[in-house]
Symmetry: D2
Subunit: 356 residues, 4 copies
């Protein structure tokens, strides 16, 4: 059996653990296994950059962050349009798949990656997709790998900020990754005891933020911590058209929402609000045990799907069990935080403000 | 509103986080809230040792391990039997509950605790139970709090052992807490890349353990790591009656299964197997973000249940949502690892041996 | 005996551990000990905000980040100048010291704090100073507390960046706290395997940065990590007068040196350089074991100094031993990184570029 | 230039970091560098098991625990005595050194390893020794690498025990590695707030242990934590001859000192004392930043010594600076904790009991 592996999009913590799961899962059942690793995501498939991987490559990588194959943001927009050199990328990928005579291509990536995976499925390739992203925004699975590792890192940062905020009676804003969806900010915020959590899915009202800070002061709590998603947006801005918003942003001194909120708080409360941007640290380091178990399961289930010939699926985790979900049913969809969900209600009941 | 809180049984990491969730959840909705904390579990309720808790007590405890109330193994066997001083413990508990005029008693604990909670419910007290245990063996909830924090700590220990085992080509046994159920060993074992995992639910065969070690050697892997639950049992021993087993144990040099297995491996392979017993470290330290989110949710849902007057329930987490589960339906039942479940199959497919 | 405690300036990780050391050290030898804690640094001493502390306050705080007393940047510039209300701050501090009839005031803080401590000594107060700062820039001691805890946190962030940088073949800049001195960046940079380390003490040359990146590319290493101190400065800027520099900064789009360097790298190499600013996380969280041992020692030695009546000193650690160092000899001096020191030479020999 | 590398004795956390330092330090200055890695310590040198290492082998290993070369306890006792096959091990080592035409052999190890390194020096080989051990017991250097990483891990374990001990008002004993010297127990004990610390260098008195526990109870502290070195010894046992002691041990139910002390405490106080043995976890996992900096320095200084032809030395760290120390002056000596040293006095002043 010959399989290909590729990791595409922003990296995260348990990519290696997932690939190890796939290969270990196949090694035990398949006699002659050849594993080809494409380098730097779809690029490697397009340009034929790959290497033959042996069991040594998968030894000791359960705990290793990043991806041994490298990754790159995928050139998905230009997919079927020949590039400057006349290269049709989709044809190039199909050609390299067939040249290697692959039985299956296992693709690890997020939403964009999944769309291309579905495209390759439509083109007749045998595809298995594993749902990777720190954003947990992939439709059709309860959980993506990378998410809980990122929650841990974001939470550690806010834990650190907690002691310094409390010592100085300061307002602190910690910016958490997530342009379109707020799962990471939501979980890291609750886990670290943030007082105000701002998500892309729940546009905020400046007055409500100030109210929450003042309420804490009245309760004798001099500090307030805000966990703010990169994509958090004010109610006024949410009401604008894309064009109007773009124009407005161009004229603002701070491109980042955290700094705009900090300035607003400083102006309205008189006390300086500080901003921390842990940024790419969220996706780095060793995967947490939760993700290691998840990836061993997803990888093992992917191996079974390959042996069973059940291609064209994402391996999901639903209600604690691995499931195969047809790519055609999920590709292109986003799993967002529902502002009226039980989790938000539970968080609000404990006094957390979402600025709405 | 007057509520009581008590934490009973072996402590774990997110007891404080859960109590904070309950109290924060009530503070936001209830006007006059009085919270009484009983000291050292049911003991405090029996002997009337309690203190009035204020918001200061719940400030900054989200991340604090242990329990601010103290805990003790409960004297459940003697429950309705008067003790040496003629004290009827159940009557004493009821009496103290009524003296304080409590609207509800929130009880945090594991299986034994839950049974007593159900007994008090039968006696007419308003009870809410929160499922606490590093063992994850409470029937009726997908997850207990403390479990993932314990997985992290056990996993860290095995991670440490990994580098030294690999450097010295040694066989290492890490004993993980769990006398009756193996969830903790199973998750920590998979997460840390253990090669052999022995659980109480799957009696092991010495030959299979030796086979697994030899197989690794043939693959060029000089070291092997075993994650062994305290309650792991050999096939022969599992076939004995309780009485026979007790007698056998009395004549064995090593009371702990890990040391018996180590000796067996040393004798049969000629190379020394080392044992590590992290023991009570599993239940200590700061709760992990997973448990902090879980406890904030369970606590908040408990607060809602209290306000809604829905007593006699455990607050569970099922398929990612908090649910109220009647105590009468779950008390006395144990959630064990099913040897034929998907998770075990997935782990086996990646080459992990369970000794069966 | 009556002593006062205050923590001043930016908080850091082992302030509580140090205060615990002082109080435990005195409790064992002094019969009637009264400890007064001034709130929010010198502010508390000026305005008479203090509270009597008991042994309960010092229980369990060895591992607790921040300061139980609160802290604030000190108003040192206005020290002897009456404020708007006619308050002479130095007189106010002396007055409150004498009102409480203190035998000694233990002051925990950095360079600015130390200067004021020395001023109070000159005014006749019994002062002991403990060297606190994540910057390790206090003259007269080999090590300050907070430093190694901050190194650990900064290093963890760069470790996280490492896996993502390697997966994407990117240039990453991690900004580390330190406006005037580079100890923290130097240690965190070496510890995390940074390829380029830029310190305030060693002005950098853009060409040398580009050279280092290109050299790595030639060696087949697609990624480069820069650890950059907040106060890192280019050779051209270092040659400017303060006035010229201020003017130049005002016209620059990026106030932070990291973003300026990132832009330069992006322009000159064609590949985007990313910036991460962990910022205040450096000073937060639980102190590392190194700092806990150091603070227990410094606190205990401070207790001995107080009992022996040896006032007017900083308790330093020199060649592994605690020493009393007269404040008058060290106040106002800064301990900077010597560009020609052995440590820098050792780091350079392993291939680390300092941009010079 | 041709150099050899070997790691001998029990592994620890920063062996790879130190080897990376040596090789990086040479790569930058030496034109044609060949590095031979001997496998499993002196065994590899004796039996000629080695492999040529390239820069890829040293990439990414700064943070990797264990040793990429493997290690083994050295067969030092039989050094000059031919084994069963008539092999003279010293001659075999010399022969392999000369066959490869090595310019220098860099040996990383502890006290036993150092003695053999000195022997090889006497035999005319060019030797550089790097002081590796979690015990910090190597004479002639202030610090050994591995020590602070082990302190961190031991301290984490005791931190975990702290929360559970406090919740249950229990006496807990944590056994820390160290048969002959107590540095690791001393630092981990102070750092984690242990109440009683027992070291091999300070024989303990059972009465003093009980006194310390009772004193805490009187202060309202129901729990006590003991950090006990593997080699801790009672005053009575310390007075026995080796032969008498051996005989006594054979008749004791518990081979480990921790269990003997636990039993004594249980008998004399009536409340059960629990034991935890983290064991080999101490030497595992990723090195801490302190050790990474230390090893980069030691490795770089070793590289300089090699280039300068200064063989026959251990690279030490003394008063914060790397120094070359002649092997002949230090081999065979042990650095123990002086019971009268300042650090012990400082610890005692804060109320820590050493059982004496």
């Amino acid at each position: 059996m010959k399989i290909g592996l590729l990791t595409s999009g922003g990296d995260c913590q348990a990519l290696n653990a997932a690939m190890r799961g796939v290969v270990k899962g196949l090694s035990e059942t398949v006699d002659k296994l050849e594993v080809y690793g494409f380098e730097e995501g779809y690029k490697g498939l397009i340009y034929g950059n790959y290497r033959l991987l042996t069991s040594v490559d998968f030894s000791g990588i359960l705990t290793k962050g990043g991806t041994i194959l490298g990754s790159s943001r995928q050139p998905f927009k230009m997919m079927r349009i020949p590039d400057a050199n006349g290269l049709d990328k989709v044809e190039a990928m199909k050609s390299n798949y067939h040249k290697l005579n692959l039985d299956c291509l296992v693709i690890l990536g997020g939403n964009g990656t999944q769309k291309t995976a579905n495209l390759l499925r439509e083109e007749g390739l045998n595809i298995i997709h594993l749902p990777k992203t720190i954003d947990n925004d992939i439709y059709g699975t309860d959980m993506t790998f990378g998410f809980y590792s990122a929650v841990n890192i974001a939470c550690e940062a806010i834990d650190c900020i907690h002691t310094t905020a409390a010592s100085h009676n300061r307002v602190f804003i910690v910016e958490v990754m997530g342009h379109k969806v707020g799962w990471l900010t939501l979980y890291a915020g609750i886990a670290s005891g943030a007082d105000i959590i701002l998500l892309p899915e729940i546009p905020y009202d400046n007055d409500k933020i100030i109210d929450a800070i003042q309420k804490r002061k009245k309760q004798g709590k001099g500090f307030t911590i805000l966990a703010v998603a990169e994509g958090a947006i004010s109610k006024e801005d949410a009401a604008l058209s894309k064009k109007e918003l773009k124009k407005k942003r161009e004229n603002e001194p701070h491109p980042s929402v955290s700094y705009r909120i900090a300035e607003m708080i400083t102006q309205r409360t008189g006390s300086e609000a500080r901003v921390t941007v842990p940024g790419h640290t969220h996706r780095g380091g060793s995967p947490c045990p939760y993700d290691r178990v998840l990836c061993t399961r997803l990888g093992s289930a992917a191996a079974k799907a390959i042996v069973d010939g059940k291609f064209g699926n994402m391996v999901a985790i639903i209600n604690g069990e691995t499931k195969l979900v047809p790519l055609e049913k999920v590709a292109g969809k986003l799993k967002m935080v529902d502002p009226g969900c039980k989790l938000i209600k539970e968080a609000k009941r404990t006094g957390i403000s979402f600025g709405d």
